[in-house]
């Protein structure tokens, strides 16, 4: 079975394609954009396409152009697999299959795609969080430096004071540090 993965996000497409290697028998290709010549020559049995690809409308229209396209694709709308298409759309994945392909063969492919999409989202979320953490550590360090200078505290005492402020107000350390720096800026006249 041949699977074409169309996804404007190349990293995610690679992740899906790699995941599909485990499902056999399979030949997997990935592409950032729909290419009529590629579809005609590769003749995929199933096209997995990201919902954020603008190519979906072109793929839909191929159903109406059966004469010019030897392998017309149809939307995956089989009712014998209830809930699958819904789940896939919510996960950001759509699929087009060649007429006649057994639904049972589609499920594992879509499941891999959905899993990989959510994995990618999680990885990106983790990365954003790590960046935010790093940023917050920098802010805390600056706030600590400010307290050491203005209050004559040592580093440990400055940190404890910040932590106490955070606990008393029930807010994250980074947020308290950001406020402290902003207030210090206002008092010094930065924001006037």
């Amino acid at each position: 079975m041949r699977v074409l993965v169309i996804d404007p996000d190349p990293a995610r497409a690679a992740l899906v394609a790699e995941g599909l290697e485990g499902v056999d028998p399979l030949e997997v290709r990935q592409s950032a954009q729909f290419d009529a010549a590629e579809v005609a020559s590769f003749a995929p049995d199933i096209i997995v396409v990201a919902c954020d690809s603008a190519d979906r409308d072109t793929l839909e229209s191929l159903r109406e152009a059966g004469e010019t396209n030897p392998r017309p694709v149809v939307m995956f709308a089989d009712r014998s697999e209830p809930g699958l298409a819904e789940q896939a759309i919510r996960a950001g994945v759509a699929a087009y299959i060649v007429d006649g392909l057994a639904p049972a063969r589609v499920r594992p492919i879509l499941e891999v795609a959905m899993t990989r999409f959510s994995l990618m989202q999680q990885l990106r979320g983790d990365l954003a969080k790590a960046k935010a953490n790093l940023e917050s550590r920098k802010v805390v360090d600056r706030a600590k430096g400010l307290l050491m200078k203005e209050r004559g505290l040592d580093e440990d005492a400055a940190y404890k004071l910040l932590r106490k402020l955070a606990m008393d107000t029930g807010r994250p350390l980074g947020a308290v540090a950001t406020d402290l720096l902003a207030f210090a800026g206002v008092l010094k006249g930065d924001a006037s």
Binding site: D55, R56, D57, T68, M75, A85
Partner: protein, 351 residues
């Protein structure tokens, strides 16, 4: 606050949704709305179907096609509000527009010129011209087909019609992959400002105050408590969009990358006359429009003769819901002109 998620496609006529959010009309109705920019009409339809979107900016024939099960499962939908009338147009590549006879100005003359050129190419054994539209179930597809067919072009034999995402149409006019496009604002303006072609037909000439986009939702949304406040907020936003003093503000707002992401001057081109959001009952989904769409779907074999057009239109097109919102906000039009004829003089009765 009541939460809602609405989908839109980056086009100038998504304006009522963007304005209702940015200018506080949603908040004024107690609605907390998330606008979700989508990349394709297919995804808009699918997300509305599975409930990932509560309602969305839709091509006017989409709700009818989904309810009829054209090319997919039967998915009952409603169109309780028209978002705008007019706005689409046909841009020909420079190469093709130069092939038109000098002095061809009216839609009939231009179509006749195109038909003659297409005929010459066929006789000369040259490949058919390629035209791009945005979606099979769109005013763009039907207007282009109707216009060329009236001039004697055989749409199946003489030309190649493809579906292409609008931003890519502009690029393909440049590279010569397409000879003409039928697309909505702001893309005709983006193409002509880039020196890539000439606009030879506007849907406002093809069918003055003709249909283009609606608000579409699943049929169950007709009973949802959130529908009335949503429609009230949108009709207020539509009235705001029509006011000339707001057009500069509107163009700058829509130009932002999270909305349309095109230059403000290209967006301005369709404001102030071409696109109408509210005036003369532009927000009311017209049964005449739906009838015309059904006739086109039949003509181009998208639906079978067994589809009960009357029942389909009555279940999908809901002018009563738009009118209720217009009355509730004091924005109901004093006169509500009946839809006029197409460029060829034909009319479509509501009955």
């Amino acid at each position: 606050m009541t939460s809602l998620t609405l989908g839109f496609i980056p086009l100038t006529d998504c304006a009522p949704l963007v304005v209702a959010e940015a200018k506080g009309f949603f908040a004024g109705e107690g609605l907390d709305v998330t606008l979700s920019r989508e990349a394709s009409w297919a995804t808009i339809r699918d997300k509305v179907t599975v409930g990932a979107l509560d309602a969305a900016h839709m091509l006017a024939p989409m709700a009818l096609a989904a309810t009829a099960g054209a090319g997919g499962p039967v998915t009952p939908m409603i169109a309780p509000l028209a978002l705008a009338v007019n706005g689409a147009g046909v841009t020909l590549s420079n190469r093709l527009s130069q092939a038109l006879p000098a002095g061809a100005e009216t839609l009939q003359e231009i179509a006749a010129g195109l038909a003659a050129f297409i005929g010459q190419r066929r006789v000369g054994g040259e490949p058919p011209l390629t035209f791009a539209v945005v979606f099979p179930y769109s005013m763009h597809n039907y207007a282009l087909r109707y216009w060329l067919a009236e001039a004697g072009v055989d749409l199946d034999r003489d030309v190649r019609l493809v579906v292409t995402p609008p931003p890519r149409m502009v690029e393909q006019l440049r590279t010569g992959q397409v000879d003409g496009v039928c697309v909505g604002a702001p893309w005709n303006a983006v193409a002509t400002r880039g020196g890539l072609g000439r606009v030879v037909m506007r849907t406002s000439q093809f069918w003055p105050a003709g249909p283009d986009k609606v608000l579409g939702a699943g049929a169950a949304f007709a009973q949802d408590d959130r529908l009335s406040p949503l429609l009230r907020a949108l009709v207020r936003a539509q009235a705001w969009c029509d006011r000339a003093e707001n057009h500069e503000d509107l163009a700058v707002l829509l130009a932002q990358p999270e909305y349309v992401g095109a230059p403000p001057d290209a967006i301005s081109a369709a404001l102030g006359g071409e696109l109408v959001f509210h005036r003369d009952g532009a927000g009311i989904p017209r049964l005449e429009h739906a009838r015309w769409f059904l006739a086109q779907m039949r003509r181009w074999n998208q639906i079978g003769a067994d589809v009960d057009a009357q029942a389909l239109i009555a279940s999908v097109y809901r002018p009563d819901l738009a009118m209720a919102a217009l009355k509730a906000t004091g924005l109901a039009p004093e006169v509500q002109p009946a839809p006029g004829p197409l460029f060829d003089g034909k009319t479509f009765a509501a009955g």
